[in-house]
Amino acid sequence: MEEKLLDFIRDEFLEDPELEIDADTRLISAGIIDSFSLVSLQSYIEREFGKRIPAPRITAESFDTVRQMVQIIQQF
């Protein structure tokens, strides 16, 4: 799951293709992904993993890194 999410984020949102990101890279708080990107990410998670994550869970506190995203996805 982690790898799939990382690949999606690299392909869709990274402005700099040379920027290296891993499961612990801060994405929302660092401004790498914004609300528009999060909408696409929410749809991707629903398509790929069959889980709909409510918007109040998609925040810089609980959804900032890919590792946190995996934890939230597993809760739903």
Binding site: E15, D16, P17, G31, D34, S35, F36, V39, Q42, S43, P54, A55, P56, R57, I58, T59, A60
Partner: protein, 457 residues
């Protein structure tokens, strides 16, 4: 907020609160204090708060118990919103039908008597919408009625937010006993002192100097009108951030942690970041309950980039008041978000297809452009803004002043980014400093009749 009622109730309930042994008694005390505060300000508001709380709690119970809760959720939202429409927007809608009537005689005509807007209604309605929706999304349970009543009426955040979520406040109220900590009292009083300073010393004095320029711009040089524009941008920030500090600090005195509302918004490098730092509790609400659900309606890029931000921000604007100036301000910001997003996509495509980046030196323009964009937005937000706009933009001197101030902003932006980390690292708060601040605030308060801009919404 800066009133005998507020600080009187705050002081008395604070002493009694920490004398009580269990949290459930403390919650009862806070609820009674909050209801008393609302009643002292306006009897009608108390009735509205109680009615809305009973309704939303009942709907919350139904949503929680039903397997298919869509209809109950819709009914709850319609019910809560109806109260806002009834008190806040009926006059505005009647005005629109009146003007349409001149063209279409068959249109029904209705007259609306002046309704007094119950205090805090715009904020309580948003809190209840988030409560009902979070129950539907299974993020929270309805909780007990007294906790929900306290959440709805808590006097420290009642008048103008922050628009706290039940999910965050409820676990604090449920704790058997919030431990008494000296640090909570220190942090709370520091935040109150800082809030009073922001409001009474900075915002009110700036407001005092620029008020006449906004009222009669034609009597002043266009350069001064530009200064008044930036002055208002700073005034509204310190006014509302000051209020939020008092609300957050007062809650902290009771050991309650309430979400922050501002995070240096005017230092944001783009409009998207600005909205992550300005009135955070409102922009989070817009994002979670309007922007995300609207985005799900269609996957078309035109809808997502062109319509959703404009609709969401137009609703954000009209929430501030039933006037076209707020609507225009919201649309301005919605269009800003759209343009910024298109620019981001253009940059990404350029790098991917051609491997070309934009010149890095252009980054110095990011902050001044954002600050200028937000400041221009305040022209619409503030009443009498359009004469000021005309005075600035319809004269060569005004345009020159805007250009010069933009160049100045570039240098200010460079200076801020160079000194920002050093300044924030060196500031250390001492108790005597709190007292100095309070003393200065007292002197300023006695010199000026003060009201919060955001308490009017």
């Amino acid at each position: 907020m800066i009133s005998f009622e507020f600080f009187g109730i705050l002081s008395i309930s604070l002493i009694l609160y920490w004398l009580l042994p269990a949290q459930r008694y403390r919650n009862l005390l806070l609820t009674a204090s909050s209801l008393l505060f609302i009643w002292l300000l306006d009897h009608q508001s108390l009735i509205v708060v109680l009615a809305l709380t009973l309704f939303s709690y009942g709907m919350g119970q139904i949503i929680y118990r039903q397997k298919r809760s869509g209809w109950a959720h819709a009914l709850g939202i319609v019910g809560v919103l109806s109260s806002l429409i009834f008190f806040k927007y009926l006059g505005f809608l009647a005005g629109i039908t009146d003007s349409l009537y001149t063209f279409l005689e068959a249109l029904p005509r209705f007259s609306v008597h002046h309704l007094l807007l119950p205090l805090g209604i715009s904020y309580i309605v948003l809190k209840h919408i988030s409560y009902l929706t979070d129950i539907k999304w299974k993020l929270v349970k309805p909780g007990n009625f007294l906790d929900f009543l306290l959440y709805s009426s808590l006097f420290t955040i009642f008048l103008a937010g922050p628009i706290e979520r039940f999910e965050r406040l409820s676990p604090q109220l449920k704790s058997p006993r919030i431990p008494f900590k000296r640090s909570d009292l220190e942090l709370g009083s520091q935040r109150i002192a800082l809030g009073l300073f922001k409001k009474l010393v900075i915002a009110d004095w700036i407001g005092f100097f620029i008020a006449d320029i906004w009222r009669n711009p034609d009597q002043y040089h266009p350069g001064l009108a530009v200064l008044a524009l930036f002055g208002y941008a700073i005034q509204i920030y310190f006014d509302f951030a000051g209020y939020s500090d008092i609300a957050i600090g007062s809650s902290r005195l009771f050991g309650l942690k309430v979400m922050g509302n501002f995070q240096r918004p005017y230092l944001a490098p783009n409009i998207s970041q600005f909205w992550r730092r300005w009135h955070i509790s409102l922009s989070d609400f817009i994002r979670d309950y309007i922007f995300f659900p609207l985005s799900r309606l269609s996957s078309s890029k035109l809808w997502l980039l062109g319509f959703v931000p404009v609709i969401a921000m137009a609703l954000c604007g009209i929430w501030h008041g039933a006037e076209s100036r707020y609507l225009l301000w919201g649309i301005w910001h919605g269009l800003g978000l759209t343009v910024y997003q298109l620019f981001q996509q253009f940059k990404r495509r350029r790098i991917k297809r051609k491997g070309q980046r934009l010149n890095a030196s252009l980054a110095v323009l990011a902050w001044p452009v954002t600050f200028m964009f937000v400041s221009l937005g305040w022209l619409s937000f503030r009443a009498f803004g359009l004469p000021v706009a005309r005075h600035i933009f319809f004269s060569a001197e005004g345009l020159l002043a805007i250009l010069l101030s933009f160049l100045l902003l570039i240098f200010i932006g460079r200076a801020i980014s160079a000194f920002q980390s050093r300044i924030s690292a060196k500031v250390r708060w001492r108790p005597a400093f709190t007292l100095y601040l309070l003393l200065i605030c007292l002197i300023c308060y006695s010199a000026m009749n003060t009201e919060f801009i955001y308490a009017a919404f």
